[in-house]
Subunit: 435 residues, 2 copies
């Protein structure tokens, strides 16, 4: 009943916005389940079957060389891919945070430790403006919010999104009001609050926050609000495609053989797959097989569980893990993730909190990259999949780090080796020289 | 006497290293005071007058268009400027963190609040791999350390440098042992420790840490150690020139009219001036006047004090400010900073801790950039200099943000606007909707 209510509300609210909306190559929303098409508007569920809506495009046809050159000559951020995104042509000139084109780090030291011989890369999205991949999805949602005339940006968040929305709203000239579980890491709370918008702690889990936001959308209290990951979700999600675009461009316009992606709602993984398929369809990369692997924390592993059990549906869980940015117990795109992992010959795996911390330290020690717990999950899962013979170490492999270790400091209890007086005697006594 | 000891030790240690050292266009070290030249080696003080040594170059002469194109076609990091830096030609292929080419953000919202009409930009170095400008200087020091055969990287640090050295050492295959004051911010301590090197807390101020490191260099305990900001300092310092190069390139190969730079040791400001002058000499930018402004925290403002008092020397102070990354009470390059500020028609100013926090919030609220306290210092000083009629708001102005707010969370006591149960009633009662 609630789903039906949301869907019909969503259909109503599309009407005033479907005319004169310029979102570049985006021409409609289409239902992922039944294929029904709707005009571009702030809607997210199909009015017929309640399936999730996603953006349908008329993508540039024909000359792939010209498109590649256009991209390469574009700005050094996600807007170089504007011809493939639901954004207006002049997007690069509007006030936004210009995320993307983060480093694809060739990780030879880590490869040696893990026994990878086919080339190992870390796509390090901690280089984004608020230091997580969320800047990508929010940047797209901001353009949709402009197009639909919203004045307040909102979201439910496990932390990274809150900071990304707060920052993007500040720069783009929106008000913001974001909702987080009340018990998040200090770094994420301060970062969400510092941009001057409203920040509301919700007494409950992320799933409680999410449910609350869905209610708020149907209520007059939320009128004029663009919830980036609810009523702007179809646009927002498309931002994750840019990870796929960048990885391929940075590999020299080549598909990776294997890619390891963290799973929270599962949206990112599905959009990476969508992005890879688009590049093939556009002739920008050669068509060859690739495998997508999903990574979860054991304390919130409903998709991994379903994958191992051979199920098509995902049974919700109550999260209990240090990887709070992945702590979504009821992942909306779980079934699609299962489908993609199986179709591409990938897998979904999970690691314990202890393995997450070990993996954070491993990545830091080998490559000088300080990852968030979510990065510990992907690196830890990569290690496990290699050890289990599931991931092929002779193939080109890309591991995503979607966030920054500075936001999850408590997870790694790292401190000084020694604390001493400023004297050579004290230093000698500490026994650190010449080791 | 101590200075003499250091200098003669430095001369001794140069000898084995002066042959076969390939540091690109760098041909010698020259004394900033007396001009005496020395071979390239791990030395930092003139054997004749004890003045600081800096790198002397044979820079590419002649065709400035060809050089500009070579830079523009180079990698998207500081190595695009390798022809102007003391690094070997193949530097971009070596394992390092590849910092630089951070965003130059056009800050129109902030400009409106400050009344700047001539174009205001924030050079946002929080986008570097470990989220501070220190990645630039360390990257150069790593190449010098390789050239001189060091196996351990070390430094004295107010925090940002510790993380940058730890990360760079991990990736480049060095051991590391870094020294920090024992009372640093948690974010900086964890970040310095996570890369797996040794981290030593020193019971004292940064100046105590620095003195201790100078002693350690002269002692067998420190043998084989490259202290990036002591015996590798001449090379290290050159990394800051890349800030000047990038700003000009990002402005379309044009000098800014005014630039506001934080002062810790003062090295960064002097090297930015050096970089700007080089671009003029090479014909890469048109020669026109520019003004350099220095920014300090009131609680550690020895250079600002000397500037206002009309002195040429800087009287050391005991720091007491939340801007810990600038808390150097005895800034080595203070006199040179005074000279540059006066020569270019700039100034040196300071702001209180309260003004620093206000400025952090101002920058976050207007541009979505969460700066470290050092960024609060530069933005706060910019505001003050405009209000005082010292900085001309009709001119193109660049303000440096050299670090990341996530590392100085305690400085901004930002938190949720409200914490509520997940219900519409509770949200209505909080009074946040429709504001």
């Amino acid at each position: 009943m609630r789903r039906k209510g949301l869907a019909s509300m969503a259909v109503q609210s599309v009407e005033p916005s479907t005319t004169c909306v310029d979102l570049g190559p985006a021409v409609a929303l289409s239902c992922r389940e039944c294929g029904e098409r709707f005009g571009l508007g702030p809607i997210f569920a199909c009015a017929l079957c309640f399936g999730p809506l996603e953006v349908a495009y008329e993508l540039p046809a024909g000359d792939s060389e010209a498109l590649r050159k256009r991209i390469e000559d574009g700005p050094a951020n996600i807007w170089r891919y504007a011809p493939l995104l639901p954004v207006p042509a002049g997007v690069a000139e509007k006030p936004n945070l210009n995320p993307g084109l983060t480093k694809l780090v060739r990780a030879d030291n880590l490869a040696r430790e893990l026994g990878v011989t086919g080339g190992l890369y870390v796509k390090d999205d901690s280089g984004n403006p608020t230091h997580s991949f969320k800047d990508r999805v929010v940047a797209i949602a901001v353009e949709a919010a402009r197009a639909f005339g919203f004045t307040t940006l909102s979201c439910s968040s496990t932390g990274n999104l809150a900071g990304a929305v707060g920052a993007a709203a500040a720069r783009a000239g929106f008000k913001s009001c974001v909702f987080i579980p009340h018990d998040l890491e200090a770094g994420k709370v301060v970062m969400a609050a510092v941009y001057g918008g409203d920040l509301v702690g919700i007494e409950g889990t992320y799933d409680d926050v999410n449910r609350f936001c869905s209610e708020l959308i149907g209520d007059p209290l939320g009128e004029g609000w663009g919830f980036v990951n609810v009523n702007l979700r179809p646009y927002y999600g498309e931002g994750s495609k840019t990870l796929a675009y960048e990885i391929c461009e940075q590999l020299g316009w080549r598909l990776p053989d294997q890619i390891v992606v963290p799973i929270a709602s599962g949206s990112q993984l599905t959009k990476i797959d969508k992005g890879l398929k688009e590049l093939v369809a556009l002739g920008l990369v050669e068509d060859r097989p690739y495998k997508i692997f999903g990574a979860q924390a054991e304390g919130c592993s409903p998709v991994s569980r379903a994958f191992k059990d051979g199920h098509d549906v995902v049974r919700p869980v109550k999260p209990d893990t240090i990887a709070k940015s992945l702590a979504i117990g009821n992942p909306a795109d779980g079934p699609y993730v299962l489908d993609i992992a199986r179709r591409t010959g990938g897998a979904v795996e999970d690691v314990t909190d202890e393995q997450i911390v070990d993996a954070i330290r491993l990545l830091a020690r080998t490559e000088g990259i300080f990852a968030e717990t979510a990065g510990g999950v992907t690196v830890g899962v990569t290690k496990k999949l290699i050890e289990d013979g599931v991931l092929d170490p002779s193939l080109t492999t890309v591991v995503l780090n979607t966030g920054d270790g500075l936001k999850t400091l408590d997870a790694v209890a790292a401190g000084p080796t020694a604390t001493i007086r400023p004297s050579l005697e004290a230093f000698r006594a500490a026994g650190l020289a010449g080791r």
